[in-house]
């Protein structure tokens, strides 16, 4: 029965996994895939939802921050399977200030950068101003290392790092290339302003500060100068589930260089700014692009950050527009690494020929989201509180840096209390503060180079990130949503839940069974006497003494056959007429095409009285005839059958009346309820055609209870509501 309805809200129910999808507006999968990635980062979600919208007086339709808040709120609170992103798309303007063209595919990384630009502007002056930096913001360091030792460094903040895919097998190789740098020699020598002469110089870019969420953009779209167009690189590119990024950071590289120079590692103890955990990252999301430069599709694989619904382990999901499905993380190599497949070539009989053909995998990772490994005790409230509090730790000059780095690692704080000062144990100590001093003294260098202040800012940023994460966990893994938005969503949720329950085949069946409980069954209802029965009776009455039973029955059979044939003909004619009518009506009104029922207008009381009078007259006429003929056994039988039918009718009426109370009439309530059910709920549907079966059922119901409805003066007005 369920298949006969075109409207099934249950299908729009939120995935049982607890996540809501996003509707694709044509070619907006690049938005959807990235927005889901951002939504699943709790501190970012919390910051966006808690940002107070200062531009209340402006049109909210054009307010990107408001629309993003609304979208995140729906993703968190909605009961529906997906959210319609049309308002968000409308608020997201292109370079010309026009709403983005939703039917035009865009680059996901470009969208990421533009979105962050816009958000940065909108969050200015708000408490959440630093959120983007706290969560995604890192810093690169462009270094010039001349032979003379007069280093120059400039910082470059980043939200994403672009890594090469071309000719690289894996992420590690790309990072090595990233920090490798180049030697400026010969004519290209760097002019050292301190020495006032050109010197051979190493120019490189290294990672200075790592953000809690590291976004890596794989450069798969390369400009082909021969074809003068962008081409997608589908070559295999492996990335690990966990990665240690220390080797690619400034301090990591310096450590390497020192180690090279040191005679033995045993004599070397390095006192770096960050603990080892700072460099440990694990994969938490992949934006996949499938297809070519011109035609393609984006979707995301994302790891939930905290296990929900009482589960012990976090799961991975595939967020593909409106669909949210569990994803087996072991499938990442097949789904994200790209490369080629070797497919065996089959012979004419379907047997493998031994030869293989190569097929390029067009589905591969485009953006990688790595997240700093969270301390295992993060979700343990007590531990986290301790980790965020440094009040009980004695603050001395020597452990200042340790205090800062310990802000996100409770265990370290405790360990540090018992730890002896490090300076006495070191033969060669690399203290960043001392090492960087000459650069700070360099007046022409960037004043915001790495140093105490900068590292303090980094640690504060990390603290804020973990505080937000903790708050999120405390709130039952929900970010707080502003009341007006929340009320709107829940109003919609309530209506949706009710619709889900009511527009349901089981509910229809229940109502149908209920309204039929007290209606007489078809065989209990009075019915018209057929021609065959009439003839049978008259023949029996006239010829009972002349003809045998068999002959009468034969004649009746012939009449019945004739009647059946007539009926078939009538039906065919009716169907033809109906079809003709339908065709005519189709042109006029679509709703009739789906079979709006004929209205059975109940007869008025006056008509019924007239009928009864006629019946009495007929009976009076029949009586003398019956008296004239001799009463045979067969006649007795026929009169008995009539009586029994009448008795059954009376019985059914008595049965109904037996339930009837002075103040309450189940029959009437039943009719009233059925009418109300249809008129109040279903007739309000914009398209009545969604409920043809139900309407037909009601039609049958009214026909069945024709006499009952007339008895209770069902007005034609009510009946007409069904059409």
């Amino acid at each position: 029965m369920g298949n006969e309805f075109g409207f099934a809200p249950a299908r729009k129910e939120k995935s049982k996994h607890g996540y809501v999808g996003l509707q694709n507006q044509g070619a907006t999968c690049y938005m959807n895939s990235l927005i889901q990635q951002l939504y699943l980062i709790p501190p970012f979600r919390q910051a966006i939802l808690s940002a107070e919208d200062k531009s209340k007086e402006l049109d909210k339709n054009d307010n990107l921050l408001y629309q993003m808040q609304r979208m995140f709120a729906y993703l968190q609170e909605s009961e529906k399977r997906f959210f319609d992103t049309i308002d968000f798309c409308h608020s997201y303007k292109d370079m010309n200030g026009k709403p983005v063209n939703t039917s035009q595919q865009m680059d996901a990384n470009e969208f990421f950068n533009m979105l962050f630009d816009k958000l940065e502007n909108q969050l200015k002056g708000l408490p959440q101003e630093k959120t983007l930096k706290d969560v995604f913001g890192g810093a690169l360091c462009n270094q010039l290392i001349p032979e003379c030792g007069h280093r120059r460094e400039t910082d470059e903040p980043f939200y994403t790092i672009g890594v090469e895919v071309k000719d690289k097998k894996n992420l590690q190789e790309s990072f090595e290339l990233f920090v490798e740098g180049e030697m400026l020699t010969g004519d290209n020598k760097y002019f050292c302003e301190t020495c006032q002469k050109p010197v051979d110089t190493l120019k490189r870019c290294v990672v200075k500060n790592l953000p809690p969420i590291l976004t890596l953009h794989l450069k798969r779209f390369e400009f082909d100068y021969e074809k003068m167009r962008y081409e997608k690189l589908n070559t295999g590119f492996v990335f690990p589930m966990t990665i240690n990024l220390e080797s690619y950071t400034k301090e990591g590289l310096e450590k390497k260089e020192l180690l090279k120079g040191a005679a033995s590692q045993d004599t070397l103890e390095l006192n770096l700014l960050h603990p080892p955990e700072y460099y440990e990252y694990e994969l938490s999301g992949v934006v996949v692009h499938t297809g070519s430069t011109d035609f393609g599709h984006y979707y995301s694989f994302i790891k939930e950050r905290m296990p929900i619904q009482g589960r012990q382990e976090v799961r991975w999901f595939e967020f593909n527009d409106t669909s949210v499905l569990p994803f087996d993380v072991n499938q990442i190599p097949e789904e994200c690494f790209g490369g080629e497949d070797q497919i065996p070539i089959l012979g004419p009989e379907g047997r493998p020929t031994g030869e293989k053909r190569i097929r390029t995998r067009s589905n591969n990772a485009y953006i990688l989201i790595y997240e700093r490994k969270q301390p295992k005790e993060l979700l343990g409230e007590g531990t986290m509180k301790r980790s965020l509090s440094v009040e009980n730790v004695p603050v001395t000059k020597t452990n200042k840096a340790k205090l800062r780095r310990s802000s996100s690692h409770g265990t370290l704080v405790e360990a540090m209390k018992n730890e002896a000062p490090a300076e006495n144990n070191t033969n060669v100590t690399l203290k960043n503060e001392e090492h960087l001093a000459p650069i700070n003294e360099d007046k022409e260098g960037d004043k915001e180079l790495a140093g105490n202040n900068n590292n303090t800012a980094v640690d504060e940023s990390r603290s804020r990130f973990y505080e937000m994460l903790l708050q999120f966990a405390k709130n039952g893994q929900k970010a707080e949503v502003s009341e007006p938005i929340l009320n709107d969503i829940w109003k919609e949720n309530r209506a949706f839940i009710m619709e889900k329950h009511v527009f349901n085949a089981d509910y229809f069946n229940f109502i149908w069974n209920l309204v039929n409980l007290y209606s007489p069954k078809p065989h209990e209802l009075p019915r018209e006497i057929t021609k065959a029965e009439q003839l049978l009776e008259t023949e029996r009455a006239r010829n009972s003494h002349n003809k045998s039973k068999a002959k009468i029955e034969d004649k009746v059979k012939v009449i019945k056959k004739e009647e059946k044939d007539d009926k078939k003909k009538d039906d065919k004619n009716k169907k033809k007429d109906d079809k003709k009518d339908d065709k005519k009506d189709d042109k006029k009104d679509e709703s009739v095409k789906f079979g709006a029922p004929e209205v059975v207008v109940p007869k008025k009381d006056d008509d019924k009285k007239d009928e009864k009078k006629d019946e009495k007259k007929d009976e009076a006429k029949k009586e003398p005839e019956n008296n004239n003929t001799n009463a045979s056994n067969e006649k007795d039988k026929s009169s008995n059958s009539e009586k029994s039918r009448e008795e059954s009718i009376q019985k059914s009426k008595r049965k109904i009346k037996a339930f009837t109370k002075s103040e309450y009439d189940p029959e009437f309530a039943m009719i009233q309820f059925a009418t109300k059910f249809v008129t109040d709920v279903y007739a309000r549907a914009r398209e009545k055609t969604m409920f043809p079966l139900w309407i037909n059922r009601l039609k049958k119901f009214y026909q069945l209870n024709h006499d009952v409805s007339t008895a209770h003066s069902m007005t034609p007005v009510k009946m007409s509501l069904l059409t």
């Binding site: 039952g476 309530r494 329950h501």
Partner: protein, 183 residues
């Protein structure tokens, strides 16, 4: 005089019933337990059916919301208890009126079938106790049976349904066509 031995079905029924209190511990695998109880109920000859009915009704009323969505795992305990009540009223229709007195009609219709959260819920399952197909069908079957040959129950159910229909006025009918046809 020698006492008449208890019928095996009744004996087994009582035995099984004695562990009903702990059935929540085995919510994942109790469906066959309830099926057996329901089957044995047909031949049960004990005179404590009114008390049993009251216990079952109370269990339905006090049962927490377990089902998360229509596609989640069904609440086998609630389905089992509702089916036991159904078996009792099928066995003896005189108990139908008692069900109404125990406020079972309101509970099943309002809380098991059509409960809608009034305010936003922060955590845990919410809404109707019965969200899956099987649990809702069990409720509908029970309500239909309670209304059969019992005009008072029929009246109460119709009144409750009418009241529920009144609350449907907030329906959004303006679904975009593509939303309707998309799935």
């Amino acid at each position: 005089m020698q006492a008449v031995p208890e019928a095996p079905a009744s004996f087994l029924f009582k035995l099984l019933l004695s562990v009903l209190k702990e059935v929540d511990k085995y919510h994942d695998s109790c469906d066959q337990y309830f099926q057996l109880l329901e089957h044995l109920m047909k031949d049960y000859e004990g005179k404590d059916l009114p008390e049993l009915l009251a216990d079952f009704a109370n269990k339905v009323i006090q049962h927490p919301i377990v089902e998360v969505s229509s596609t989640s795992e069904e609440d086998k305990v609630l389905i089992g208890v509702i089916n036991l009540i159904y078996a009792i009223v099928r066995k003896d229709s005189n108990f139908k009126q008692q069900c109404a007195e125990l406020k079972l009609l309101e509970e099943v219709l309002n809380n098991c079938l059509f409960a809608v959260p009034v305010s936003p819920i922060k955590s845990g399952p919410y809404g109707a106790k019965c969200k899956t197909k099987n649990s809702r069908q069990a409720c509908f079957r029970l309500l239909t049976e309670l209304a059969r040959d019992c005009p008072n129950n029929f009246k109460d159910i119709v009144d409750l349904l009418n009241y529920q229909l009144k609350s449907c006025k907030c329906f959004f009918w303006h679904y975009p066509r593509h939303c309707i046809n998309s799935s």
